[in-house]
């Protein structure tokens, strides 16, 4: 279970998070929506322990990741998977080496077992045949799928997805989200999914949290979000330029 309590974070005097609190129950996926550049990725990096809050804390199964260092932090991170916006693939490694890397470095599995596991996962994300390609030779969608395979290869208990569909065409974006859904059913991880594909994810997430002006405006079920009377939520869900949130 993930608990975020009163999280504050500023960068160069600009307060990005102004007291964010929410909770994700074990096995559920929560979609985190909100405007671009307003702190969703920052929030996700706090949950992963990559950033330290100015105030507040993030608890993973009751343990405060924000104050952890060294081996304790490394140990809790081994339970996490993180799908970066950019994929963050190691560009000097092939697709196969990228996916195999966590297994080679963190487990005692033999090379044959690693090969089987990696190929099975690559099959799952429809990338058989691309094992020997380097990240520079992949399309955006392929990169995301490799990154997804790499983050899932060690069967993480918690998955954090940072805009997994950014920059992809609608068909590939939908395929990636469906893939996340099917992998969630298979592996049963707890997840936070930062996304703008609201209508697509509403089908498989358990809750939706909206981050607005540095705070969680609402945490509701997908049905409640769709029928919300809050004008800000409504504007966001209907993707309308006119409303209380102004584009500047």
């Amino acid at each position: 279970m993930i608990t975020v309590e009163d999280l504050h974070k500023s960068f160069n005097g600009l307060e990005v998070l102004k007291g964010v609190s929410f909770q994700v129950e074990k096995g559920e996926i929560i979609a985190l929506i909100g405007r671009s550049g307003y702190g969703k990725s920052v929030l996700l990096k706090h949950v992963a322990g990559l950033l330290r809050p100015d105030k507040g804390r993030v608890l993973i199964d009751g343990e405060d990741i924000s104050s952890m260092t060294g081996k304790k932090l490394e140990a809790i991170r081994r339970r996490l998977g993180f799908l970066f916006q950019s994929g963050a693939l190691f560009d000097s490694f092939t697709v196969f080496e990228n996916v195999a890397f966590p297994l080679r470095e963190k487990t005692k599995l033999g090379e044959e077992e690693i090969r089987k596991k990696v190929l099975s996962l690559l099959d799952h994300v429809d990338l058989i045949g691309a094992e020997e390609k380097y990240p520079a030779e992949l399309s955006g969608g392929m990169m995301k799928r490799v990154a997804l395979a790499r983050s899932l290869v060690i069967n993480p208990e918690i998955m954090l997805f940072d805009e997994p569909t950014t920059g992809l065409d609608p068909i590939i974006a939908c395929a990636i989200l469906n893939l996340i859904d099917s992998l969630h059913r298979r592996f049963g991880f707890t997840g936070i999914l930062v996304t703008h594909e609201i209508t697509t994810v509403l089908g498989f997430v358990q809750k939706v949290a909206m981050l607005h002006e540095g705070k969680i405006l609402t945490v509701e079920s997908p049905e409640q979000i769709l029928s919300s009377r809050d004008p800000i939520v409504q504007q966001f869900v209907t993707a309308c330029e006119n409303g209380p949130v102004r584009y500047h």
């Binding site: 490394e74 081994r78 950019s86 963050a88 963190k106």
Partner: protein
């Protein structure tokens, strides 16, 4: 920067050591620098042979050309030039590699796998620098001494026996060890500065370019400053 170096030494002195990554870095920093060290060593030695011969000729002491070339190379030119060459060739690449990894979140990805980025990125480079620099400086010295002989001996007529014989008389083990200590410390200095600048780079292409420039300039200046301090303490 001090904390960065202390952490790097801490992880270098505690297992596990990533031998594959270390070997790759020795190959990159050391082996791939051999050609540039060979060329600069040869020409530095040839210039020393030429200049040394004409200067010593004024005092009628051309017999001391061998020791002059050897001592200049072993104590100063060898360690300093090889360090500057490695900074230009490998140091800048080190900074750019780490900076790009930082900007494309590859370092965050490593950390999120529960793996320590220092062990994979910094420690192998630091140890490879410590191992490679003294070897490269030694190669530079040997090539330079022969370069000096090519000009002083073959071209300008100083005898082989005189050139190498006087060298054996005047160059002692302390001179050689002093040069090795210098290049060893330059190995630490180059990898420390270049890795630090890459690890804490600014964002985007401009950030990487600035980090690389700063790494090369700072390393080069620090090599010369540190060389002065070491010379004043050791010799």
């Amino acid at each position: 920067m001090g904390l960065f170096l202390a952490q790097a030494f801490f992880y270098a002195s505690t297992p596990p050591l990533k031998y594959t990554y270390l070997m790759k870095q020795i190959q990159f920093i050391g082996f791939q620098s051999i050609l540039v060290i060979f060329l600069t060593g040869a020409f530095a030695g040839m210039v020393l042979g030429l200049q040394g011969f004409y200067t010593l000729n004024r005092f009628g002491s051309t017999a001391l050309l061998g020791p002059m070339v050897a001592l200049t190379l072993i104590k100063e030119i060898g360690p300093v030039f090889s360090a500057l060459m490695v900074t230009g060739r490998a140091g800048s690449a080190m900074t750019a590699e780490i900076a790009i990894m930082r900007n494309t979140e590859q370092i965050d990805a490593l950390a999120l796998m529960g793996l320590n980025p220092y062990r994979y990125l910094i420690v192998p480079k630091l140890l490879a620098g410590i191992i490679s620099l003294p070897l490269l400086a030694s190669l530079f010295n040997v090539i330079g001494i022969f370069g000096g002989y090519l000009i002083g001996g073959r071209l300008l007529g100083v005898g082989q026996g005189t050139y190498f014989g006087e060298m054996a008389t005047y160059v002692d083990m302390q001179d050689i060890l002093g040069g090795l200590y210098k290049s060893l410390s330059f190995g630490v200095l180059i990898t420390w500065v270049c890795c630090y600048k890459g690890y804490y780079t600014g964002s985007g292409a401009e950030g990487v370019s600035k980090a690389t420039t700063q790494a090369v300039v700072l390393s080069s200046v620090l090599i010369l400053v540190w060389d002065y301090f070491m010379t004043s303490v050791m010799f």
